[in-house]
């Protein structure tokens, strides 16, 4: 009998707790991660911070002199693999103007 008396207060408290969780705004910022894989190749995976993937989004490998070394698009698994260029470079994940991620060669970990 006692437990029934507390059903409603417990539900009210639960509802209040849920309301408190809804504060964080939902954003979908672009993100991209590159790492070295075998045979001097680099694999980059793109996506958005809401958990969605980025198949078909442009990913270019650009030299420090602004020449595009490897033009490309992410595959169906939101990733792309390319050979590490000899020249200095950075990776540009380009989901549209202002929706980009730059990854400098210094930030790509070598195994």
């Amino acid at each position: 009998m006692n437990s029934r008396l507390f059903i409603r207060p417990a539900m009210t408290a639960g509802l209040l707790a849920l309301l408190g969780l809804s504060g964080q705004a939902l954003a979908h910022n672009p993100m991209c991660e590159c790492k070295s894989v075998e045979d001097g190749q680099i694999r980059c995976t793109g996506g958005f911070s809401d958990g969605s993937g980025a198949p078909g989004v442009t990913l270019d490998v650009i030299g420090y002199d602004e020449t595009i070394l490897v033009p490309g698009k992410l595959g169906p698994d939101s990733s792309m693999t390319f050979k590490r260029p000899d020249a200095e470079f950075y990776v540009l994940f380009d989901a549209g103007p202002g929706h980009i991620v730059e990854i400098d060669q210094a930030d790509i970990e070598t195994p």
Binding site: T12, P30, F48, E66, G98
Partner: protein
Amino acid sequence: MSKTVTAQPPSTLSRLWHKWRFHINILLLLVPLGFMPKYFADASLFRGDSGLGERDVGTVQVGPWSLQLAELRNEGPRPDGPAGYMKSFNAALSDSSIDQVKAAYLRIGKPRSLRAAGVIFFGTPYRMGATLPIPERTRADAELWITLEGWDGSMHQASIPLSQASPATIAWLAQRGAKQ
């Protein structure tokens, strides 16, 4: 033949609930009042009644154009999952620039190209917002670069020290320790 029905004595918890439930519910109604100041402050901030943001940075001249910059929140960057830490800025183009500026971008460090000019501001030119990723290895002497792109194809850039744009972010970086 006496039928005695022995009523079970109510438990202490039940007795207390029945005695105080009215007052407890009044207290529940008072709970939202505690959140009112924050609610009204936020409503005023997002409506623009309390200015462009919590902390005004000032007016920045970018070539022939200018814009007013403000931090949305006077606090360090907020985490956004695997995308890293984000800091929100608001901006308003000056009246004379509104018709000429097509896009505004924000980046820490000098952009390599217009394509990599950083995050784009969106919203009305009177009050637009951008959410800037703050790399963990950002240095305390980093500069915040503003790139404006005109409808005529021209591009102008200006920079201000990050310490001027957001002291809270500098404090946050110092607290996390320098990462190289």
